[in-house]
Each structure stands twice: as C-alpha cells, then as structure tokens.
C-alpha cells in the first residue's frame, strides 16, 4: 500500500482494521460456542433462562474437567485414552464402596483418588521408561481399567450412590441473587481451572510440559527431566478423570457404559479448544470452552431429534475438521 491511498479514508479503515485484528485474535472456539449457543437459545426456551444455562454448565463441567486433564497430556505430545475407563471405574467402584452409606463418602473418595494416582503412575511409567507410545499404552490401560472395574463389582453394577455423593455432580448453591442457583459442579470446575491455569501457564512445570511437547530433544539437552515431567502429566490427567467421574456419577445412573467414549469427547474438546495434537500448545480457558462447545453441539443434535450414532459421527468430523483447520492455518502463516 502506498502512502497516498492511506491518507484519505485511512481513519475509518484503520479503526475497522484494528477491530478486525481484535476479532481475529480471539480464538475461533469462542465464536463457535456462542454461535451454537445462540441457535440453541432460539430453538429452545430452556437455554434462555438463567436456570437453563446453569443446568447446561452443570452438565458440561465434568467433561471440561476431563478435558483440562487430557490437555496436560496432549501438551507433552502424548495421548491419554484411559480416562473414560477411569470414569467407569469410579462410578462402579464408588457405588460398591458407598453401598448407600453416606458416611463412607470420604473413604470412597480417597480410594478413588489413590486408584487414579496409581493408574496415572503406571501410564507414565510405561510411556516414559518402557518407551511405549502413549496411544498404545493408554489404550491398553483403557481395557485393563474397564475390565478390572467390572471384575471388581462382579460383572454388573452393584450398590447405590448416596445423595451426598450425587450432590457433587447435580447439587446447587441455592438462592443466589440474579442467577438463582449455582451448580457445585461449576464451582469445582472453576477451582480446578484456576489451579491448572497457574500450573500450566504460570509455573516452571507447565512451561516444561509445553517444552517437551514442542521439542523433546532440545528440552532434554536443556536439562528438562523429561520422564518425570511426563509421569506427572499422566498423574494429573488420571486424577482429573477421577474427579470428573465422581461428578458424572451424580446424574448418570450406575451403569457399565457410563465412561465409554469420553476419551474421544475430551480429545475433541481439546482440539476444538486449540490444543495441538503432538504437543506444544494449549490453553486452559480455550479448552473449557472447547468442552462447552462439544456439549452445545450434542444438545443441538438432540434438539434436532438426531439419534446417538450421529453424535459419534459428528464428533469424528469435528476432530478431523479442527485438526485440518490448524494444519491449514499454520501452513499459511509460514
């Protein structure tokens, strides 16, 4: 552009340009989410009320928590496919442990967290020390955990989840001004999001996660303890899956397929939230909105009356489309 063309209409154009640049800087996930949510609102009055929105957020929070955990592993350049099975394990196992006795709740929580820790450590060990690709290692773990959980409860769900347990997932803080009710699940998500935000975006550990996802060799030569960092990433992911599982038990019934497909849903949420498969990039905020987007899409499909198989197909399309979008846009930049 020459200086003369800049002169006259420049003021207005420049303002437009600044606005356009600002718009471009906001990650695509926010536009997609709010776009879909507005459509939802137009189609169904439920999504127009504060109550309905809160119910939506309540439903989505466990997925968002799982997605944050998955993001940590994805950022190191790995995958964690075992989280869906961990959810199944938590729901089945805790209902057995609780067996309608509310006082058992702390024991059940600690047991589940301990199991999560163990699974994460094993995942991390197999990936970092035995050098098995994480996709395969955690795929094996997915089957192992699911089978183990079924074996533990004797093949079919047993026992009941107590009310106090279910409240984590479905309870509300009541009588809040303006919005009436505020779900516990969302509060848990916010706390975990805040903690993860500081670990991931602000701590040395978080930066090392991104470093090994970006370039393992360079990280190693700069002194990063790659194996240790990877182990911790898997542990975080497993623990978050346990927490998500506790919440999911709150509204789903106790059944053996409850965690099925969650690993793919979370990976899709991460990809939509701008996480690079292969590692090196991610954002807690964007991933949370990625999870919201996934849930909003599923709700939209429901409202349109499409059966469940569509949900799976759409999920597959989303993953492919989002990864292709990233690949194309980075190629353009270069």
């Amino acid at each position: 552009m020459t200086t003369t063309t800049l002169k006259q209409p420049s003021k207005f154009l420049q303002i437009l340009k600044t606005i356009w640049n600002g718009i471009k800087r906001v990650p695509a996930v926010y536009y997609i989410f709010f776009g879909i949510f507005i459509v939802l609102g137009l189609l169904s009055p439920t999504y127009q009320s504060a109550n309905g929105i809160m119910a939506f957020l309540r439903r989505t929070s466990p997925l968002a928590i799982l997605a944050i955990g998955e993001m940590i592993v994805l950022s190191t350049g790995g995958y964690d496919l075992s989280i869906g099975s961990i959810v199944t394990l938590v729901v089945l196992g805790s209902s057995l442990l609780l067996n309608n006795d509310p006082t058992m709740m702390p024991t059940a929580i600690w047991t589940m967290l301990a199991l999560g820790l163990l699974i994460g450590l094993v995942n991390g060990f197999v990936v970092s020390y035995l050098k098995i690709p994480s996709f395969i290692a955690t795929l094996g773990m997915m089957l192992l955990v699911k089978g183990g959980a079924l074996y533990w409860v004797g093949g079919a769900p047993r026992g009941y989840l107590t009310e106090n347990w279910r409240d984590f997932g479905r309870g509300y803080f009541e009588n809040i001004p303006l919005i009436e009710r505020f779900p516990y699940a969302l509060a848990i998500l916010l706390v975990l999001a805040l903690v993860t935000y500081f670990i991931y975006h602000r701590s040395n550990f978080g930066k090392q996660i991104l470093a090994i996802g970006d370039n393992v060799r360079a990280s190693q030569l700069s002194g990063v303890r790659v194996r240790l960092v990877r182990m911790i990433a898997f542990v975080i992911s497993s623990l978050f899956a346990v927490i998500g599982g506790i919440m999911i038990g709150g509204f789903g019934g106790v059944n053996v397929t409850i965690g099925e497909g969650l690993e793919m849903q979370t990976i899709a949420a991460c990809v939509v939230g701008g996480v690079l498969l292969g590692g090196g990039k991610g954002s807690v905020m964007n991933v949370i909105f990625g999870a919201f987007t996934m849930e909003a899409i599923f709700n939209l499909l429901n409202l349109l009356g499409l059966p469940k198989p569509y949900k799976d197909a759409v999920q597959g399309l989303i993953i492919i489309a989002a990864v292709a979008y990233v690949a194309l846009s980075t190629r353009k930049k270069k």
Binding site: F198, S203, K207, R217, S219, V224
Partner: protein, 528 residues
C-alpha cells in the same frame, strides 16, 4: 616412472573415451551455491577419488550423477551421449550405481533377498528361492567373497564391511558400469579396508569406473589413481596420484582469503586457571581423549565429519557420557551423567542442529530463554520461583545482551531468522549462568552479518572469564577464533596446534595425513 611411460599413459588416456563426463554442472540450494560450473571426466577402469572439505560439494556432485538431484545447468555424458536423470532408478538402469554411507539394506532379510530385492526370480508367481540363492552365490563368487558371505545369511548378522560387500554385489547385479561410493572406508577396520581395496582393483580390471568420496587422504593415496579436489562448490583440479604428494592435495583443498573480520584473539594474560580437564577418557565413539580448557580462551575443535567432534561435546555435556578416564571440573573430579548435571555445573551446550536440538519452535522467545533456568529447579518447587516476576526483568536483559532483533519477546521462535534463533539459544545458556560454553557449529546456516555478531559475542564471553570449546567445520572460523586448536581424527585427538595455524596444517591432521611419513617432511620443508 620414466618419461616414456608417462607419455604412453597420456596417449592411452586420450584414446579412450570417458565413460562418464559432466560438463559445466551447477546446482544451487536456497542461500548456497553447492556446485558452480564443474566439469569432470571419469575414464573406464579408473579409480577416482573426490575430496574436499565439508560443504565443498562432493555429495551434491555424487547425488547428481546418481540421479538423486537434478542439476540447474550443465550436461551429463555417458559414453559420449547426453543423458539426463530425473530419478535414481534411471541412473541405475544406465549402469550408474551409488552406495551411500548409510546402506540401503533390509537388515532382517537374507543377503540373496537383499541383492535381488524386487527382482526375485520366480516360478508361476512364486519366488524361486533356490534360484535366488544360486544367483546370489554366483555373484558373490564373482567378487571373490563367497567364503565370507553366505547368500542365506541375515544382513543384520553381517559386519559393516560385509554389508558393504553385499552392497557392491548388488551394484554389480545391476550391471553397473560406474560405481559411486560415499565414504566407503569410514566405518571399516584396517584389514577390511585392504579387502575393499582388492575388490575395487578387481572391478577396475573389469573396466568399471569407481568413484569414491573420502575424508581420509591415506586411503585416497592407497586406492585412487586420480584425485579431484572440490572447494566451495568449484573444481580446483584433477591430478594423478603418482604426480602429487598428499601435502599438495591438502593445499588444493584449503587456502582461501578470510572473507570477514574476526575479533582479536585473546592475549596470554586473559587466560586463567584450567576449568575443565579431561584425561584419557573414552566411550564407544571416542578413544583416549585428553585436553585442558582454560578460563577466557577459545579452544577450537577442528576435524572432518565423523571425526568425533560432536561426540566429544556430547560426552562432556553428559549426553553420551565418557565411560572411562577422568573428567575434572574446576579442580574437582566428577562424572557428568546427564545434561541436567552438566547444566547444574554451569556448562552450556549450543548444539549443532538448532532446529532439532536447540529451539522450542512454537514457544515464545521468553520461554525459550528461561528453559534452562526452569529445568534445573525442582519440578515440585515453588510455583512462582523464577516464574513471572524475575522473568520480567531477566528476559529483556538477556535479549539486550545477545541483541535479539524482535518487536516482542512473546513472538514464537519459529518465525525468527536463523541468526536470531541462534541468539535466543545463546541467551538460554547465559540465563543458566554457564561459564563453560560448548559451541557446536555456532554459525552454520546463518548470514554473514549474524555470523560476525555471534563471533563477537563468543569473544565477549571469554572476556568475562568464560571458557569456550568451539567445534567448527569451517577452517576460517577455527583459525579466526581459536586461541588453540585441537584437531580430531578417527575418534581421537590427533594433535594440538597453536593460534594462527594455517589451513593446510589443520587439514593435514584432520585427514590423517600425518600418518603418511613423506607428507610430514614436505610440510616441514614448506615451513622452512
């Protein structure tokens, strides 16, 4: 040799048509002229060595002959007829076969299967294994190695030398007229080299042309009849082995004017105590390494590719540690078992391959600079330690120190120029407070201006009392920067030279030319 014989030789040379000829070949890569108007003739029944420094254009020339690269201009003549290859297969069909340094053999198949890969004799669509093995056996007998290698042996069970023989057998099975070998002796023992030499003689008698690239002058003089010297992509000349001495070839390989200014070398009073002392250290790549590094000096490490330079740097830095011998750091004997230990002991390593070993391309400049600081702290340590607050001050300080040209430290490193990326890598080590710096090819692939500023920076480091170990393939850089030069050859330190040594002196050591007795005399004579 009498005058008469010589004339006779020349006569026959003129009579016979060259088997392979290149005329005015040029090849450019982004930013470099790899070959510039090179013309060469290869006679039938001739063993022809192509020598030159790293980056002289040898490999490019070979790849053009083998059809792996297409030249930008110039002609290739095969038996006087113009040919052009757009694919290695075409060159192979015409009888030009190349054996790369990295063999193209499938380790888990037999010798026979490898030789006839994709061309197996078959009966009714089923591979005729008996015939396959018979053909292979005949071929192995033809080159006289039937006693060493069985057609049914697994390639993975063979030694490197035997694998090379299999490659040669494979080449002959293609009816090769021209055999190109890239560094054929690099991984061979002395007796294996002799074996190869005998075989090459046999091939020669059959009228084949054998072209080989080598870094080792000793063997070039044992093997070849003619030597072609390339330098910076240009043809220096082709000479007959019998007419020249190794020193002459060395002079042809080097010797150019310094094309840029280097900061002044250190003065004796700048050099302090010994900070790093390695004594008789070895590992699987290195033999008996001993040297001392002083505060405030630049110790240049010269040597050709594969001489063990990088391996030595990696050993000191704990990537592939020494397995025997001793290493003293600031007077204390210690074992550096991994990079983290090295960094904690204030050693910095600016690696050769910036892209794969130096930078985090998708991370901002800021996080690249702070990586070492972060990694040597406890993973479980306080979250804010050296996080945001200190980084706010540290990053711009480092940026200024190394003069990174950028509008923001949040820019991803992948979008910076090569020179700027290298400065970011430097900053990373300054941040970790290193006082022993290892540079492996510090200025490879960056432009002249950035080169000069990195040279200045290295010299500035030494002024602060930092000790520098600088590996470089570029002799001008070695000579321009080093206060002392260690020359490596074949996994050990061949010798030490003082500052301002000449290129031929270094190159002679680096090619193992010292081992040729007469060369020493010639060089000594030349000095006087």
């Amino acid at each position: 040799m009498t005058e008469e014989q010589k004339q006779k030789d020349e006569k026959t040379a003129n009579l016979v048509q060259p088997l392979l000829e290149v005329q005015g070949i040029s090849k450019r890569f982004p930013g470099v002229v790899a070959l510039d108007n090179v013309s060469l003739k290869f006679m039938p029944g001739e063993i022809h060595a192509v020598v030159g420094e790293n980056g002289a254009g040898k490999s490019t020339l070979m790849k053009i002959l083998a059809g792996a690269y297409i030249p930008d201009s110039g002609n290739i003549l095969l038996k006087g007829e113009k040919v052009s290859f757009s694919h290695p297969q075409q060159a192979q069909d015409e009888g030009i076969t190349i054996i790369y340094q990295e063999f193209n053999l499938l380790p888990d198949r037999t010798v026979a299967q490898n030789i006839f890969l994709g061309r197996e004799p078959s009966k009714l669509g089923i591979i005729d294994i008996r015939k396959l093995n018979k053909n292979a056996a005949e071929l192995l007998k033809e080159i006289g190695v039937e006693k060493m290698i069985a057609p049914t042996a697994m390639v993975s069970s063979l030694s490197v030398a035997e694998q090379q023989l299999v490659e040669i057998a494979k080449a002959i099975s293609f009816n090769a007229k021209v055999l190109i070998m890239d560094e054929p002796t690099a991984a061979l023992t002395y007796t294996e080299v002799k074996l190869l030499l005998d075989l090459v003689q046999k091939l020669k008698e059959k009228g084949m042309s054998v072209i080989f690239i080598s870094h080792r002058l000793v063997e070039v003089f044992d093997f070849a009849e003619k030597i072609t010297v390339l330098k910076d992509g240009q043809l220096v000349g082709t000479v007959c082995v019998k007419d020249v001495k190794p020193a002459d070839v060395v002079y042809m390989m080097v010797g150019r004017t310094l094309d840029h200014y280097f900061p002044p070398l250190g003065k004796p009073e700048d050099f302090g105590d010994v900070v790093l002392k390695v004594t008789n250290a070895s590992n699987k790549f290195l033999k008996d390494i001993s040297f001392e590094l002083r505060k405030g000096e630049v110790l240049g490490i010269a040597g050709l590719q594969g001489s063990g330079r990088t391996e030595m740097a990696q050993a000191v830095f704990g990537v592939v540690p020494f397995t025997s011998g001793s290493l003293e750091l600031r007077g204390k004997t210690m074992i550096i078992k991994n990079p983290a230990t090295a960094i904690k002991n204030r050693i910095g390593f600016v690696t050769e391959d910036r892209k794969s070993e130096g930078i985090l391309p998708k991370q901002p400049i800021r996080d690249n600079m702070l990586l070492t600081v972060r990694s040597i702290q406890s993973v479980f340590g306080p979250i804010f330690k050296n996080g945001i607050r200190k980084a706010k001050k540290l990053v711009p300080e480092l940026g200024k120190q190394v003069d990174v040209r950028t509008d923001s430290y949040d820019r991803e490193v992948q979008y910076l120029s090569g020179g700027n990326q290298q400065k970011v890598v430097l900053a990373k080590w300054l941040a970790s407070d290193a006082d022993i710096f290892i540079f492996d090819e510090p200025t490879r692939g960056i432009d002249v201006e950035a080169k000069a500023s990195i040279h200045d920076m290295i010299r500035d480091l030494t002024k602060k009392g930092i000790a520098v170990l600088m590996i470089s393939s570029e002799l001008p850089e070695i000579i321009g920067m080093s206060d002392r030069v260690l020359v490596m050859w074949d996994g050990h330190i061949e010798g030490e030279l003082p500052a301002k040594s000449s290129e031929p002196e270094i190159m002679l050591m680096a090619t193992g030319g010292k081992h040729i007795k007469e060369t020493q005399d010639v060089l000594a004579a030349g000095k006087e």
